[in-house]
């Protein structure tokens, strides 16, 4: 098993990994904003934010320029741990509208604890020309960022790495190890191939083998992937699955994935003892999206806690995961494949 626990020493405090970073929609003008969770869920003093979208939202950016802190803007305590990624998914694929130096100064201004380098995600097509160009471009951005990342800056710098095959992922990380100075690596472009569990697993393992440094996985922290990521030795991951699922009225439950609420007739008591569900009825949750989002987040935290418990109590993690994946044929196959690959490594 590649699961590991470490401590990250960050400007706003220490964090025990592996850790989930919920995606905060701060800066995005949208109705599906993230409800308050920092403080109410004790093991989530963390947030993933999109640096570019904050920068692009003029009123907020002005307030930040005038001295309001990001954490005030987010209405979270000042010791909240923030990972600011570059917002690569929103870039025009032909190229970002921001230079690595500008991005770094925005991330610094946001007082983020972790910076992710500018990246352009890969497309599923265009294997030969376009994706190789993007891979090279992302490497170049990462190296440029590393050169600008001052030594007196205590925030960590993670290089964003993209590739659709293990060789490219490994090769990119080795290359960046040689040419730059990074505190960790963040693997991207996986959400487009998320249904291909086997491939996704192989890419994560390739990254995990290529470096002993911190490994973050972008945008893959759904409730099904979560235990798999922990098993593969991923140190952190971000997720907006709890929001997206709530948008679809999906009630997340560890081991069961999501269940659409309109498919459930009536329940006197919900199957979850979290602070949201413990005292409420199904109908109350059904009508309040915010409650559903918060419950979904609790579900993910519960899954994370259980895994930590299994590992801490010397129980057989693989037996636990066998059980965890037994109801879903697809994820079961994915887990079996991952198990074989991991055993070959250990």
């Amino acid at each position: 098993m590649l699961y590991r626990q470490r401590t990250l020493d960050l400007p706003h405090g220490d964090v025990e990994t592996p850790i989930l970073l919920p995606v905060r929609n701060v800066g995005k003008r949208s109705s599906d904003n993230t409800p308050e969770y920092v403080g109410t869920i004790p093991d989530l003093p963390t947030a993933m934010i999109n640096a570019r979208s904050i920068y692009q939202r003029a009123p907020m950016w002005e307030r930040l320029q005038e001295g309001v802190t990001l954490r005030e803007e987010m209405e979270v305590p000042e010791d909240t741990i923030v990972f600011a990624d570059s917002g690569g998914l929103d870039f025009d694929p032909t190229g970002p509208d921001i230079t690595p130096a500008e991005m770094l100064s925005i991330q610094r201004h946001l007082d983020a604890d972790i910076y992710g380098t500018i990246d352009i995600p890969l497309s599923r097509e265009n294997w030969v020309e376009e994706n190789h160009r993007r891979v090279r471009q992302n490497i170049e951005y990462a190296i440029q960022t590393s050169e600008k990342h001052r030594e007196d800056d205590a925030s960590l710098l993670f290089a964003s790495v993209h590739g659709y095959d293990p060789e490219t992922v490994r090769n990119n990380i080795q290359h960046l190890e040689q040419r730059g100075d990074f505190d960790g690596y963040a693997l991207g472009s996986l959400s487009l191939i998320r249904t291909d569990y086997k491939k996704t697993t192989r890419l994560i393992l390739a990254a995990r083998r290529a470096t002993d440094k911190h490994l973050h996985v972008y945008g893959l922290g759904g409730i099904t992937y979560l235990p798999l990521l922990l098993y593969l030795g991923v140190d952190s991951f971000d997720s907006s699955a709890f929001i997206r699922n709530a948008g679809n009225r999906n009630y997340l439950l560890p081991g069961f994935g999501g269940k659409e609420l309109h498919n459930i007739d009536h329940l006197d008591y919900l199957p979850c003892p979290c602070p949201v569900c413990g005292t409420r009825t199904l109908d109350e949750i059904r009508v309040d999206r915010n409650l559903l989002v918060r419950h979904n987040l609790w579900s993910m935290v519960t899954e994370l806690r259980r895994f930590r418990y299994i590992a801490a109590s010397d129980k057989d993690v693989e037996a636990y995961l066998d059980l965890r994946f037994q109801d879903n044929e697809v994820t079961q196959r994915a887990y079996r494949a991952a198990k074989q690959q991991v055993r070959r490594l250990v």
Partner: protein, 387 residues
């Protein structure tokens, strides 16, 4: 252990009474894959050497047919020549045991004989070549480029697009280029190899490799072969040799298939007027028919050389060549055989090399059982009569 008349024993037979460590003659008539004995017929070795040397020295293509009746040593000649060429680093040799049902099969056998590891190594050599042009590094060979990639010195993404572009230009076959480059990716190299060997892959797999065409007929196989040859030549190999054995089996094809196969081979020769050497092994009667019926094909073959039945002198020489490596006494020549015995063998085998070897093998064992010291005609007669 004796049971129902069978005597099965793993006790090593003792040939020391003949001054031999073992019976050196093959029991089965299948030629060795790596023969180290060649009792050549001088005109054949000359013709083969001449063809091979011309290709190597001029770079121009040249082809040869070796004819001979069954058992006269065609396969042995081809395999022996192959083993000589395989030691050279500047050429590529593929052996095709028989032509199958068309050129697609020949191509498949050729690639399979080169093998996955070898062709993957060629793919890395291509990347090395690109790296020498595109980067400050100067990797020579597949191991060097592999370690540069593994260590992250060179970005794979810097090499792959220009490698595909260059190979597409050389090969004039973009799909082939993509398949070759995919051999370096562990997720896709099996599909790529299946496509390259014309084993066929599913549409979704082809899509993943961004390969548009199916390699499933003679025309595509000729294209792919030519691409492979051009790639190898561009990487600095002097020539590609294809040994096609049992060519006479094309006579078993339908007239249409036979014609298609010969046409494909003709196209192959026409499209590769440099760096290619085809060496056929064929029964003389089938070659006669090809000569008279398919001029367009046969006139492109530079030369035909015929293996003849062995003469007495050649039988002596052959037997001696087999005996010498296993001798543990100072004896020389054909002993423990006598000239008379071998003349009898020659007469019985009609100079067919395969039969000569088979009979000698049996005679040696019979003489051992009869506790003879030298092998006289009487033993040989016993053996022949018992068959």
């Amino acid at each position: 252990m004796t049971q129902h008349g069978f005597t099965i024993s793993d006790q090593k037979r003792d040939y020391s009474r003949f001054g031999l460590e073992e019976n050196p003659f093959p029991y089965s008539p299948v030629p060795d894959d790596e023969p180290d004995i060649y009792c050549g017929q001088e005109h054949v070795t000359e013709a083969v050497s001449d063809t091979v040397s011309t290709v190597l020295s001029t770079g121009k293509s040249k082809h040869l047919v070796v004819t001979g009746k069954y058992g006269n040593g065609k396969s042995h000649t081809l395999k022996y020549t192959r083993s000589l060429l395989r030691d050279r680093e500047d050429v590529v040799v593929g052996y095709v045991a028989q032509p199958g049902t068309g050129f697609l099969d020949i191509y498949h056998e050729f690639m399979a004989d080169l093998g996955f590891d070898y062709v993957q190594q060629v793919a890395y050599e291509l990347l090395a070549d690109v790296a020498r042009n595109e980067t400050e590094y100067n990797p020579i060979g597949s191991a060097a480029i592999k370690s540069l990639i593994d260590e992250g010195e060179i970005l794979l993404s810097e090499l792959v697009p220009p490698a595909i572009k260059r190979l597409s230009e050389t090969a004039k076959f973009a799909d082939f280029a993509r398949a070759v480059v995919h051999l370096v990716y562990e997720d896709t190299n099996l599909y790529a190899w299946q496509w390259l060997t014309a084993e066929g892959i599913r549409y979704e797999q082809r899509k993943e490799l961004e390969i548009h065409s199916a390699l499933d007929d003679d025309t595509m196989a000729v294209r792919a072969f030519t691409s492979m040859k051009n790639l190898l030549i561009e990487l600095g190999y002097d020539a590609v040799f294809v040994f096609i054995d049992e060519f006479e089996s094309i006579a078993r094809l339908s007239t249409k298939d036979e014609q298609t196969t010969l046409n494909s081979l003709r196209h192959l020769m026409d499209q590769n007027n440099s760096g290619l050497c085809l060496l056929f092994g064929c029964a003389p009667e089938v070659w006669q028919d090809v000569m008279s019926e398919y001029h367009a094909f046969s006139e492109r073959i530079g030369r035909e050389v015929a293996l003849q039945p062995l003469t007495a002198e050649q039988v002596y020489e052959l037997v001696e060549q087999y005996l010498n490596p296993v001798r543990n006494s100072g004896k020389q020549g054909i002993a423990p055989f006598t000239k008379e015995t071998l003349e009898f063998v020659l007469q019985q085998s009609q100079g067919n090399i395969r039969q000569v070897l088979a009979i000698c093998s049996r005679i040696l064992d019979a003489a051992l059982r009869q506790e003879q010291k030298t092998i006289g005609v009487a033993v040989a007669e016993d053996v022949i009569e018992s068959v």
